[in-house]
């Protein structure tokens, strides 16, 4: 299986007053297509910044980001937008649904953007998969937090992305709802064969991915396979 995400010597700095603030310092790693990975680290360590750079939401100060063999750092913002639309799915901590669109319309947006037609049934199927078939015509403000995150999941998978980025997907949810949402993420991900990059504080959730990279003070301090990762590797090797 090929590499879907290749990060080389990635650095992100900000100018603050007269001094330079280094948020990410020379980070390198590669991720195989179809695998799952967590980025963990304390608050302010640079996890979200790394996620933003990997997903093409921001530009690095130096270094390379290659997503599905496309060098993101060479693209304009609009070209990166197109890459996001075609290859990337997102799940956010605060759901980020469009407040003026109904649940089903939110799910349809990525496909509509591609100019695809007759997508309503596909969107309805996805809502059905996340258990919200009967809430399709509700606005985000009429849904609970868990329901909103499930709509956001359906949206993330709607354009059949190659890679899914999830930023603290359960950060705003209670324990019980979190469990359901995490299960959904992993089930849908497995079913679709999508690569998953998860940013989280939750080590239990992180352990469900095959690989964990740890960041502290903007630097990568460890990169290791989890037990499920090793198991997969063994199965792969044995298979």
């Amino acid at each position: 299986m090929g590499t879907i995400l290749n990060i080389q010597n990635l650095t992100k700095t900000y100018q603050s007053g007269g001094s330079t603030l280094t948020v990410l310092d020379n980070i390198s790693f590669a991720l195989e297509a179809g695998s799952t990975m967590s980025i963990v680290g304390p608050s302010g360590s640079g996890k979200t910044t790394l996620l933003g750079l990997c997903a093409g939401l921001d530009r690095s100060s130096s270094g390379m980001v290659e997503l599905n063999n496309i060098r993101l750092d060479n693209l304009t913002e609009d070209q990166r937008a197109q890459v996001r639309n075609e290859h990337v799915g997102f799940i956010f901590q605060n759901f980020q649904l469009l407040p003026t669109l109904t649940a089903i319309e939110n799910v349809m947006v990525p496909l509509e953007l591609r100019g695809e037609r007759n997508i309503r049934s596909h969107a309805a199927d996805l809502l059905d998969k996340v258990g919200l078939a009967d809430r399709a015509h509700h606005y985000p403000s009429q849904l609970s937090g868990g329901e909103q995150q499930r709509v956001s999941l359906a949206r993330a998978f709607s354009n059949s992305p190659k890679i899914l980025f999830a930023d603290e997907p359960t950060g705003n949810l209670d324990a019980e709802t979190s469990e359901k949402v995490v299960k959904l993420i992993f089930d849908l991900n497995k079913e679709a064969g999508t690569t998953l990059v998860l940013v989280t504080h939750d080590l239990e959730m992180a352990s469900k991915t095959q690989r964990i990279i740890r960041i502290k003070g903007g630097a990568l301090i460890s990169d290791e396979l989890t037990s499920s990762g090793m198991l997969d590797k063994k199965n792969y090797a044995g298979g």
Binding site: L51, R84, D167
Partner: protein, 855 residues
């Protein structure tokens, strides 16, 4: 290599318009009432413009259809000099029917109650008007008065002197029976009737009135009716050289139509610009509302960007919304404008010579729609271009930084587009480069001054923040400069409206003041003119016998200028640079002679010569502006025709003249010792202490010297007052559009700020603030805002009026401040009321409910 691994091109990501429109529609769903609020700001501006344009189109059509009755004949030939004998046979041979009329100013006398008044006498012979009619009551009087020694008297005069049909009126030395009340002469407006009321008499009695020989100007009009198939314009062109030689002018229906249309263009041009200012105000409202709207949309835009929407697409989604609301606003504006148009003829009736029909003008509506659409988009673009710079990163953390003007050249482009558009629109209205620059510059300056005042006030409020005030006062005061404040937008919009009203008020005051001041103290307030040489002594004696002072007595000689620096009119004819000289050679001058300067004159160049020396050149003195217009200097030669006698003169001095003084002032003064024997008449200035003495004096003069005309300054004052009131009403009517637009912008800003301030108010309430406390904070904030805005407007009006008084009217400016104070209190209170009314939702509901429903 698989297709999806190719680096994407922007072109591949097509704009997908159908989806963009769908998104714009969906996105607007939960904001429609707010979007409508933005739109409401431009409705009145568009309405004003559509109303004025519709009115203009209808007026033009009405002038077209009523042009014949406006003129009353197919051809009019006119002159202000006695008709030369050699042209008479030509005039007598023209047309199928002919009428002749002489018009001049003269006093009339009502024997019943001994009233006198200066009027415009029209001595008529023939069946004129051939089209339309002289409107009278009883209806037949317009025709029948010509058959006997009868007169038609203007209805305002009839009312003023309580005269009835059948009474008599004395014109000159002859009495006429009043055959009817003159309601409207052909082409006359209500306005011209009040300035110079008309009295018709049959021409054949003119000789017996003794007024046909008087010194003052008589206009000779000849009216002709032609058979349908005659091309009158062609005929007029052919006649022109001969008429020019005879110093006569021809006017046809076509040329009169153009003249009338042109004179109303100025009026509609002015009104359209007032409407345009209201529209600009509304657009500023739209821009500020969209600015806040876009700020609230940052997250939505960031999510869309995350999902793959390009910056162009995001921009277009919101542009489509703006186009939509701009269109809706313009359509509503056009409908309102078409309705308002029904009332315009009522407001403007006194200024119009034709009956106005009210019809829907699709041309006006189309123009209004286009204008509304273009200008609302242009102004909305200012905040809208920021959409391009909203990063998808905002989904992860809000870090929206507004791009500054210097960093985003597109913003400069938008500003440039706006100024260019304002300039182009104004040029389209005014058709004059200079006026357009003045107007655009003036509007820009007003906006800049008001913005500067707003910033200054914010800076002062922050700098000298009253820390010792109570919490509620401090909170209300601080809202003036805290983030999301509305100080700038409200100071500009309400300020401009206030400035409009105040300037109007001040200018009216300046004009009235000038005339009133002139009539006070020892300034003359009564002018007698057309005094013949032999009457001079007797008039002086009569005046003094009534204990009235003879303040000034001036001889006047009529003459024409025939050559300037040795060149006559023919040699200037094709010289396009000598317009002033051409005009100067085409008019009659009323000239005086004396041996000394008056106290309103000052020599600026050359040397004053009081008395012409024997065998010396005649040194005349010219007013400085006049000398400049005809381009002459000290020592240049001027030749005059003094009623048949040629006279060579030399420019001896140039004078500065204070025209503001009520006294006779002259462009040209001859030295004593030259014109004493020329045919001349005299003007006498006196001062009457009261209306009773004025009436008595006028009666005495008119009875003894019927040819002498008198101007009572009291009457001039009341006529001026009437004109200003009528004009003031029209201007106030138009200014109301700006004021109401200002109020709508206020309502919109208050409602929009409600969304901004709601969290804060709810938080305060959650922390235990009472309803009353929130109410006081809100009321204080709006009071400060209203007071600042009204104050800024008044400051601007004071500046503008002072400038007008000093440079345009050349008088001192002493504004009456009490009414302005009332206006200040009114606008401040209105702002507070609107602010409180719109915030009542936050005040009356429990905090949680508000948070759930509004945020």
């Amino acid at each position: 290599m698989p297709e999806d691994n190719i680096v994407p091109s922007v072109a591949k990501n097509s704009l997908n318009f159908r989806w963009l429109i769908l998104m714009a529609w969906r996105d607007s769903r939960r904001n429609r009432s707010r979007l409508f609020l933005f739109v409401s700001s431009i409705i009145l501006g568009i309405a004003a413009i559509v109303a004025i344009y519709s009115f203009e189109y209808n007026l033009r059509q009405d002038i077209d259809s009523q042009a014949k009755s406006l003129l009353g004949a197919d051809l009019v030939i006119e002159t202000n000099k006695a008709v030369k004998e050699d042209i008479r046979p030509v005039l007598m041979a023209l047309g199928d029917e002919r009428s002749e009329e002489r018009t001049f100013a003269s006093m009339i006398y009502f024997p019943k109650n001994q009233g006198t008044r200066l009027v415009n006498v029209r001595a008529l012979q023939g069946a004129y008007p051939y089209y339309g009619s002289i409107e009278t009551s009883p209806a037949g009087a317009g025709t029948s008065f010509r058959a006997s020694r009868s007169a038609l008297v203007d209805k305002t005069l009839m009312l003023q002197f309580d005269a009835k049909v059948g009474d008599s009126v004395k014109v000159g030395e002859l009495s006429f029976r009043i055959a009817g009340v003159l309601n409207k002469a052909p082409g006359q407006t209500g306005f011209s009737a009040s300035v110079a009321p008309v009295v018709y008499i049959p021409l054949r009695y003119l000789e017996q009135t003794g007024l046909s020989q008087k010194g003052s100007r008589i206009n000779y009009n000849f009216y002709f009716k032609f058979a349908e198939n005659v091309n009158v314009d062609l005929l007029a062109d052919k006649l022109e050289p001969r008429l020019e030689k005879a110093e006569m002018d021809a006017e046809t229906v076509e040329s009169h139509k153009e003249d009338t249309g042109r004179s109303f263009e100025d009026m509609t041009e002015f009104l359209a610009l007032v409407g345009f200012v209201a529209l600009l105000l509304g657009c500023i409202g739209v821009a500020s509302a969209i600015h806040i709207y876009i700020r609230e949309k940052i997250n939505t835009i960031a999510i869309l960007r995350c999902l793959g929407v390009s910056s162009k697409q995001a921009f277009i989604i919101y542009l489509i919304q703006i186009i939509g609301i701009g269109l809706i606003g313009s359509v509503i504006g056009a409908i309102v404008g078409t309705l308002i148009q029904q009332f315009l003829p009522l407001v403007l009736a006194d200024f119009l010579p034709v009956e106005i029909t009210v019809a829907i003008s699709w041309a006006a509506i189309t123009q209004g729609l286009l204008l509304g659409l273009v200008i609302s988009i242009l102004f909305a673009l200012l905040p809208l271009v920021s959409v391009r710079n909203i990063s998808p990163l905002n989904t992860l953390r809000i870090s929206f930084q507004e791009t500054s003007l210097f960093k985003d050249p597109v913003k400069w482009l938008v500003y440039l587009l706006i100024v260019s558009f304002v300039f182009a629109f104004t040029y389209f209205q005014m058709d004059s480069f200079r006026k357009t620059i003045y107007f655009t510059g003036g509007v820009l300056l007003a906006f800049l001054i008001l913005s500067a005042l707003a910033y200054l006030m914010m800076w002062l409020a922050r700098k000298f923040f009253p820390s010792s005030w109570s919490y509620l006062w401090r909170q209300g005061f601080a809202n003036l400069f805290r983030p999301n404040n509305q100080t700038l937008i409200l100071v500009v919009s309400i300020g401009l409206g206030t400035a409009f009203i105040c300037t109007l008020f001040f200018v009216q005051g300046i004009l009235i003041n000038r005339v009133t001041m002139s009539s006070s103290q020892n300034q003359p307030n009564m002018v007698l003119f057309d005094i013949q040489g032999e009457q001079r002594q007797a008039v002086r004696q009569l005046t003094q016998s009534m204990s009235l002072p003879v303040i000034q007595e001036v001889p006047i000689v009529n003459m024409r200028m025939t050559e300037i620096k040795g060149r006559n009119a023919a040699s200037f004819k094709n010289d396009s640079t000598a317009r002033g000289a051409r005009r100067a050679l085409d008019r009659e001058y009323r000239v005086t002679y004396r041996d000394s300067l008056s106290d309103s004159e000052k020599i600026t160049e050359g040397k004053w010569t009081g008395r012409a020396g024997q065998g010396q050149p005649v040194y005349v003195s010219l007013e400085d502006g006049f000398a400049r217009r005809i381009d002459v200097k000290i020592g240049d030669k001027l030749t005059f025709n003094v009623q048949g006698t040629p006279m060579e003169t030399v420019v001896g001095s140039i004078r500065k003249v204070d025209w503001n003084r009520i006294q006779t002032n002259f462009l040209l003064i001859f030295p004593a010792g030259v014109l004493e024997d020329a045919p001349q008449f005299h003007v006498l200035l006196t001062k009457v202490p009261s209306n009773e003495v004025s009436a008595k004096y006028q009666r005495a003069v008119v009875k003894t010297f019927p040819n002498i005309s008198m101007i009572d300054l009291g009457l001039v004052l009341s006529v001026l007052d009437e004109i200003l009131t009528k004009m003031g009403f029209v201007i106030r009517f138009m200014a109301a559009f700006s004021i109401i637009t200002g109020l709508i912008v206020l309502i919109a800003s208050v409602l929009i700020s409600k969304y901004q301030r709601i969290k804060e108010s709810v938080l305060l309430r959650t922390l235990g603030a009472s309803r009353k406390q929130i109410l006081i904070i809100t009321a204080l904030e709006y009071f400060f805002l209203g007071a600042l805005a009204a104050g800024a407007g008044i400051v601007l009006a004071l500046l503008a009026s002072w400038g007008l008084a000093k440079f345009s009217f050349e008088t001192t400016f002493a504004p009456e401040m009490l009414p302005v104070l009332v206006l200040f209190v009114l606008i401040s209170s209105l702002t507070v009321l609107i602010g409180l009314f719109n915030s009542r939702g936050v005040l009356n509901k429990p905090p949680l409910e508000v948070l759930r429903s509004e945020v």
